[in-house]
Amino acid sequence: MHTQMEWKETSVRKSQALSAVASLARNLGLTLYALFALFPLVWMVICSLKTDAEMYNTVFRFTPTLSNYNAVLLGTDYFNAFFQNLIVAGGAVVLTIVAGVPAAYALARYDFKKKEDLAFQILSFKFAPEILVILPIFTIFQKIGLYDTYFGLIWVYQLITMPLVIWVVRGYFEEISVEIEQAAQLDGYKWFDVFFKILVPLIKPGLVASALLAFIFAWNSFTFPLVLSGFKIQTMTITSLRYIASDTVHYGQVAVAALVAVSPEILACLFIQKHLVRGLSFGAVKG
């Protein structure tokens, strides 16, 4: 009896020690990975605080300066480009959600002719490189007056954002059994209520994750705003080019521009991290 107790105690102690080692190893691994993943960001912050003269110093010693920030944020209309980018990318995502979620619902629920062909057609918008279709779009936009307008860009961004949202959200709708909708109807909810009270909470993880990805793609888009806008509207991706002058590259200023450019994405990711992890892995809504 006594020995048994002792044996039990030692085994408990052993397993405790083992789990402590395991968690230490796990944390160490994660720390290493975090360092690896965050290094570019840290490097960018460091670059943004250096003067151009110190840029090529390999020694980790410099006098920090805010001159780059001064030059980019106050010296140019970079903020203007930031907000224009926000309007275009944000507008594109909003339009995608408003049009894409019903489209995804239709593709998931209704049975109509050529349904799969249509779904594939939507996906195929992502296949062609942007540079391939940009020239005809450019001529068309010139003709119908969409060149250099917010709406023109928002519209053409749908090529990037729509397929992603439709395909992810469609999968989520398919996971929800029709009977759940029917049960809600019998409970006395009208279709509109069923949609917002029952369906939307269930597709939320997928919707948030895919909308965020869509936003990032739209935010980072380069080819479309380069060709389809220029005078009135300038997105950040285009404006950033300005710091690469013909004679010299102002790395410090590029770093500041890049830091500002990634900040909304980083913030958004931090806020909806929870959904992001769950959102793109299917099977989250099984009852």
Partner: protein
């Protein structure tokens, strides 16, 4: 609280017909059971009444009013779905409260709490109110689904296999509760099941459904004692009814039956003989339930010799299968019966309870005292 009438309903999915020209009249406050094998159209029928499936032909009436064009939420029906259809993002309490929070059937929160407490107590899930559906076992989910259905007082309760996933003890208990509740609430209930015990204990009336048509409509006694054909006969009763070939013989003005390869013909009741004579057929199928077959391990005059094929104790009784010249006869034996396989055994047939079917079509012809047995009170099943 409502009478449900279906008139000539035809429902097709693409080319496949799920319901064919089906008519049904469920009286107010009736406990009506739809019984049949998988794929018979039972669920489709419920959904047609609920309004979530639309028939191509025919009319659905609730209290005499045609509701074909009425949306499901306005029909005021409440349904238990076979796959529960619980809202995954809501806890048990909110799931059950959901019908009373919709715009159409809104109640105040105090009333909701009272009602939810009532049904969850009855269903024994009052400990689980804060859980989400994915933290529940199948039996618990099913009870939540029943709770969401029972919490309202609708025109009609539609229940699609509501007890299928409960364990045996709880199923038995819930069966009683449902019956009790139905009579207390005075609400029409249409109940789908493929369990014949549930059917017989709950139903005021039964419709046996097969391939989108009603095979037979009647009380459980009628189903059991005068099935419309061999199909229905086989559905009710455990063990399955014995159906074997028989040949009618007329000798000196007395009609007798030869079956199971016996020299000695079996006697027939007078009313049965008259009906069989009228039907005028030499060959018939004879249906006899396991409880109407007796057995001895020693020879009895007039009994039929066979050998034990299997002997399966199932708790309160033993199902013995006796092989008689290649025909297997199921019979119910007392639960202390022990025997080895292939032992000779003599069986006696209680021909008073035999049911006669046409040999080709399997349609019911006659049984002894059909009206008498169907009027019998008190459900004491021989098997």
């Amino acid at each position: 609280m409502a009478r449900i009438t279906l008139e000539n309903i035809t429902k097709k999915y693409r080319e496949k017909a799920a319901l064919i020209d089906l008519s049904l009249d469920v009286a107010d406050n009736e406990f009506f059971v739809l019984f049949g094998p998988a794929g018979a159209g039972k669920t489709t029928l419920l959904k047609t009444i609920a309004g979530i499936e639309f028939p191509q032909e025919g009319r659905v009436k609730i209290d005499g009013r045609v509701v074909n064009l009425v949306e499901p939420m306005y029909r005021n029906v409440s349904m238990v779905f076979e796959n529960y259809a619980l809202y995954p993002h809501m806890n048990v309490y909110d799931n059950i409260a959901s019908p009373m929070r919709s715009r159409l059937y809104r109640k105040d929160e105090a009333h909701i709490r009272e009602q939810v407490t009532r049904v969850t107590k009855m269903l024994r899930i009052d400990e689980l109110l804060d859980r989400k559906p994915n933290q529940l076992s199948n039996g618990q989910r099913q009870r939540v689904a029943i709770g969401r259905c029972l919490v309202r007082s609708p025109n009609v309760f539609l229940m699609d296999e509501p007890l299928a996933h409960l364990d045996a003890k709880l199923r038995h208990f819930m069966r009683g509760e449902l019956k009790e509740m139905q009579s207390a609430f005075n609400t029409t209930t249409i109940y789908v099941t493929h369990d014949y015990m549930e059917t017989m204990s709950l139903a005021d009336r039964i419709a046996v459904l097969d391939e989108g048509r009603i095979r037979q409509l009647g009380t459980s006694l009628e189903m059991y004692y005068t099935p419309s054909d061999e199909f229905v006969a086989r559905l009710f009763g455990e063990p399955e009814i014995n159906i074997f070939d028989g040949e009618l013989e007329e000798k000196e003005g007395v009609l007798t039956l030869r079956a199971l390869g016996q020299e000695e013909p079996l006697p027939l009741e007078e009313d049965v003989a008259a009906a069989l004579r009228a039907a005028g057929r030499g060959k018939v199928h004879v249906g006899l339930r396991g409880g109407d077959v007796s057995f001895r391990f020693s020879e009895e005059p007039g009994w039929i010799r066979g050998s034990v094929y299997t002997n399966e104790p199932i708790g309160n009784k033993v199902i013995m299968v006796v092989d008689v010249r290649g025909t297997q006869i199921y019979l119910v034996a007392p639960n202390d019966t022990q025997t080895e396989i292939d032992r000779p055994v003599w069986i006696g047939l209680n021909m008073k309870n035999a049911i006669f079917f046409e040999a080709e079509s399997g349609q019911y012809i006659v049984r002894h005292d059909a009206e008498g047995v169907c009027r019998k009170r008190g459900k004491t099943w021989p098997s």
